[in-house]
């Protein structure tokens, strides 16, 4: 089978989720060919780094109109790669960019897109996938009837695989034509969050706080623990609704869905809509004063106690360990 993966990069750095998509693509190709597509400023410079993650060939697309991501520009570039390669499947990492690009590409090609999948396979020669629906309350298995099968992969659902520095890939540029007015919606500015903050959906460790934190200021305790662990900070809906954190930090059904290796829930009781956003974490730790809190029902390890006491002690213990 031939699989094409869109490998998202920004300023020469590949997104972790893109490397995971490469890993998924490698397995899906089943010994067939895996083609990586790298688009945008710094694409050809970054391409060799991608070779270690499995592609046999890498196509790079650079164009003055493609310096920054745009839905229309990237769709046209990726469409050109697909027309040239005629793959059986196309994978796109389900980042904010990927979830924007995927549906546009599908509509352009006239094929459906299996969105936000956590498992991929072939079923009677067609691309099949498992995707969480109802915020993960159910898992839906689907099969695309179309050619190629297109899917966006959920971040952290697939292992990236260890890089193999010995792997070589054939890198070649791909020319695309873009009229000056082809891109109608353009990014004009980027507002980045503070340097060093880790994106929730990509973090290996997430430290989250809820109503038990009692105030905006007390989140400093979690930030310190997060710094020590190299973790991202999340929040429950209660904490966001109370104005202690911005909604971008919210983990849950109406916020972000995360699946880190370690999720530490501090002062979170575990409302069903919060659980929907984090139950796919590998290991869950709960710290809560109330031994009856539902969060303990799903946590692997629990400490019954005051977050204001336990969290600083945990920070110190981890510092000491390092």
């Amino acid at each position: 089978m031939k699989v094409l993966v869109f490998a998202e990069q920004r300023e020469g750095e590949f997104r972790k989720a893109a490397l995971e998509a490469c890993g998924a693509g490698r397995r899906l190709a089943e010994g067939g060919e895996l083609v990586g597509v790298v688009i945008g400023r710094g694409a050809s410079a970054a391409a060799p780094k991608l070779a270690a993650y499995g592609p046999d060939r890498i196509l790079t697309v650079e164009h003055p109109q493609l310096e920054l991501y745009s839905t229309e520009g990237y769709t046209t570039a990726l469409e050109a790669a697909i027309k040239q390669e005629q793959p059986d499947a196309v994978l796109i990492a389900g980042t904010a960019t990927g979830r924007d690009l995927g549906p546009r590409l599908g509509a352009r090609l006239g094929v459906p897109v299996l969105a936000d999948v956590i498992n991929l396979s072939w079923n009677e020669g067609k691309l099949a996938a498992v995707r969480p629906i109802y915020a993960g309350k159910l898992h839906l298995s689907v099969r695309s009837q179309a050619q190629p099968g297109v899917a966006t992969t959920r971040p952290k659902a697939f292992p990236a695989g260890a890089p193999d520095p010995g792997r070589q890939a054939q890198i070649s540029p791909l020319e695309v034509e873009l009229a000056p007015d082809a891109i109608r919606a353009r990014v004009t500015q980027m507002h980045s969050e503070a340097e060093g903050t880790i994106e929730l959906t990509e973090a290996d460790i997430v430290v989250s706080g809820g109503r038990g934190l009692k105030s905006h200021e007390n989140f400093k305790l979690l930030e310190e623990l997060a710094r020590t662990l190299g973790a991202a900070v999340g929040a429950s809906r209660a904490a966001v609704d109370s104005g202690w954190r911005t909604h971008g930090d919210q983990v849950g059904q109406t916020g972000k869905v995360v699946s880190p290796t370690l999720y530490i829930a501090c002062g979170i009781s575990g409302a069903i809509q919060h659980l929907a956003g984090m139950t796919s974490s590998k290991v869950i730790v709960a710290i809560n004063k109330d031994p009856e809190a539902p969060i303990f029902k799903i946590a692997d390890y629990g400490i019954v106690g005051d977050v204001f006491e336990v969290v600083p002690a945990l920070t110190e213990a981890i510092k000491a360990m390092k």
């Binding site: 609704d241 409302a271 069903i272 009856e292 029902k297």
Partner: protein
């Protein structure tokens, strides 16, 4: 294809917390309950701390004030009858609050 099987669980609930977890709410940001803290503090019986079937009222042991988790309210109205001196309880605004599926 396997038969769908509902996830296993501890099924017969005992604590208020576990039971409230089964109840569906549409919480309003603005509270429909007001506690007159000075009267509450002066009251020795503090009946709302135990008579409420939904643990809406808890004691802040540091300040002696009554914490109100209005989101838990099952809207029976018992608190307002048991402690009218310091609980001002009304219905939540239309559309908000508890939403029984069985009743």
């Amino acid at each position: 294809m396997s038969e769908p099987v509902a996830p296993a669980d501890d099924k017969l609930k005992e604590t208020i917390e576990d039971k409230l977890y089964l109840v569906k709410y549409k919480p309003d940001k603005q509270s429909h309950i007001e506690v007159i803290q000075e009267v509450f503090k002066a009251d020795k019986l503090k009946v709302v701390l135990y008579i409420c079937p939904a643990k809406v009222y808890t004691l802040n042991e540091e300040t002696g004030e009554c914490l109100v988790n209005h989101e838990n309210c099952l809207e029976c109205g018992t608190c307002a009858i048991a402690a009218p001196e310091y609980v001002k309880w009304r219905y939540p605004r239309g559309g908000f609050g508890v939403q029984y599926k069985l009743g």
